[in-house]
């Protein structure tokens, strides 16, 4: 993928090829391409001179470094106790119904992916979700769908 190639080259020009730059570089690719393709991972391994297996090992370890294709907007709905206690499941159903996708899937227009996440750190304002880096709290099914509608028009 030539796009990620130039992204990677640009990154190492600015920050160097040290192993400590692996996570920041992978994050940079996710920011632009929404996920880490096999080609991108191989390119990173080649550029940073790290075995591809170790790049893959690190990438697959972290929840926010997706190695599966993701849409432009990744919805992460918190699923831990405090959110669960505030009817998280109803919100999940509403989003799922609205976007016509299940957890782990991406809409056919490649705009949205739906995931569940472990504690987002908003338990006092549960239930909470993130869309990319943006946080939304005290959700109701209607409110969640409304937010996603606004993203849809972006």
């Amino acid at each position: 993928m030539p796009e990620s190639k130039s992204l990677i080259q640009e990154f190492v020009r600015a920050h160097g090829r040290g192993r400590n730059n692996l996570l920041p570089l992978l994050q940079e690719i996710v920011r632009h391409e929404n996920y880490l393709s096999e080609d991108a991972l191989l390119e990173v391994a080649d550029t940073l001179q790290i075995p591809a297996s170790e790049v893959y090992g690190a990438a697959t370890f972290y929840n926010y470094l997706d190695t599966e294709f993701r849409g432009k907007y990744v919805i992460r709905l918190c699923r831990n106790i405090s959110c669960m206690m505030q009817s998280q499941s109803e919100i999940l159903s509403a989003i799922s119904l609205f976007l016509k996708i299940k957890v782990g899937e991406t809409t056919s227009d490649k705009k949205f992916s739906l995931l569940q996440a472990n504690c987002l750190g908003w338990c006092h304002k549960a239930p909470a979700m993130m869309i990319n880096n943006e946080v939304f709290t005290e959700l109701t099914p209607q409110k969640a769908v409304q937010i996603i509608k606004e993203y849809k028009e972006k």
Partner: protein, 388 residues
């Protein structure tokens, strides 16, 4: 209720705008030994979960002879039910940065890093703006110390200090064998102090008010106050600063919904305290050591669902490195499901209990070791709910 109101404190979020880096400036006039001694006099213990004396940690790092040293602020706040570090970084970041700079001054570290969990990426920009102001100030104070932000990749176990360091080195966040401890050999093998966000703030508070005032709060073993993240079945969800040494009963009287049957203290890795133990359970290092997560459950809640969710969480977040944790978390989850379905007899719970206790002694890090905490405390107090 009056008793608890007396125990409500406002140190961490107070006096923010009036004393911009003045406490830092003042403290840097003192000698490192003098500062570390004050921390020890104050009896400050780590506010993450473990409770290691902060002054001793700094002293160990100071003693090391090395060309480089690091100060890391652990902001990988991922314990379920806690959100106080996020609130601190959002509302009083200067206090955190001051605590880190004083630690750098005492230990001889010139570099500080904030390990910010990816869920808090939205904070990065405003934190960076504050860092720019901080760096200007620190130049005036003639201290060679800079701080940068490292964004985590999203993993619970990264909160374990050696796993956090591995992650910064561009690897899977798998905990290291200890010893050596990070104060001796941490980031890139250099002496490294890793403290929780709240620990740095509390250190700053101690330098602001003095150890003498600080020890007036709390108990002999647990001096001072601490932030608690309160959620679940409560009319007052949010962050509350309380004196250590408070009992669960006092907290429930204040925050419960009059129907509280149990409180989970310390999140997934913590303990379930049932109603009959509310009065005798003290929050502090002599009783329940906690990072501050408190989730209230009332009579309408199924403790089976609660335990099931914690086990699912652990099975997902286990790094997979050591067998007791990797296999243990999965088997405990499958086990309670099988008992609930009736595929396994009730006595099977005893086998699972043994497994959990085994993990406590044989798992490599705090994650695997602490699975027994919720498992046994929920099981012993709500056995019927788990079985039937």
């Amino acid at each position: 209720m009056d008793a608890l109101n007396q125990k409500r404190i406002d140190l961490i979020f107070s006096n923010y705008t009036t004393s911009r880096y003045q406490v830092l400036k003042r403290t840097l006039q003192r000698s490192p030994d003098d500062i570390i001694n004050e921390l020890m006099d104050a009896g400050l213990k780590g506010r993450g979960n473990v409770g290691f004396p902060t002054g001793i940690k700094w002293k160990f790092a100071k003693r090391e002879e090395a060309s480089e040293k690091y100060v890391i602020c652990n902001a990988n706040e991922s314990e379920t039910g806690t959100f106080k570090d996020r609130e601190i970084l959002e509302r009083v970041p200067r206090k955190v940065l001051s605590g880190m700079a004083i630690c750098g001054y005492c230990t001889g570290a010139k570099k500080g890093i904030i390990y910010l969990r990816s869920e808090y990426a939205y904070l990065k920009e405003q934190l960076q703006n504050e860092l720019n102001i901080f760096h200007e100030n620190i130049k005036e104070f003639n201290l060679d110390f800079s701080i940068e932000i490292f964004l985590g990749g999203g993993s619970y176990v990264s909160g374990e200090e050696s796993a956090l360091i591995e992650s910064m080195e561009g690897k899977r966040a798998e905990p290291r064998n200890k010893p050596p401890f990070p104060v001796n050999s941490g980031l890139y093998g250099f002496p490294t102090v890793v403290n929780n966000v709240e620990t740095f703030v509390t250190a700053q508070v101690i330098f602001a008010i003095g150890a003498e005032e600080f020890v007036k709060l709390g108990t002999d073993y647990s001096s001072g106050s601490k932030l608690f993240s309160i959620s679940g079945d409560t009319a007052k969800p949010g962050i509350h600063e309380l004196e250590l040494g408070t009992t669960i009963e006092e907290v429930v009287n204040q925050f419960g919904d009059k129907n509280t049957k149990s409180v989970q203290v310390g999140g997934a890795s913590g303990f379930c305290i049932p109603q009959r133990q509310f009065a005798e359970t003290v929050i502090g290092y002599e009783g329940l050591t906690t990072g501050g997560s408190m989730i209230f459950f009332n009579n309408s809640r199924s403790m089976y669902k609660v335990l099931h969710e914690y086990l699912r969480f652990f099975a997902e977040e286990s790094c997979g490195l050591c067998t007791p944790c990797r296999i243990g978390t999965q088997q405990l989850l499958l086990g309670i499901e099988a008992v609930k379905r009736g595929d396994k007899p009730a006595e099977y719970i005893e086998v699972l209990k043994k497994l959990a206790l085994n993990m406590k002694t044989s798992a490599k890090c705090g994650l695997g070791q602490s699975v027994a905490n919720p498992f046994i405390s929920i099981l012993e107090n709500f056995k019927e709910e788990i079985l039937y």
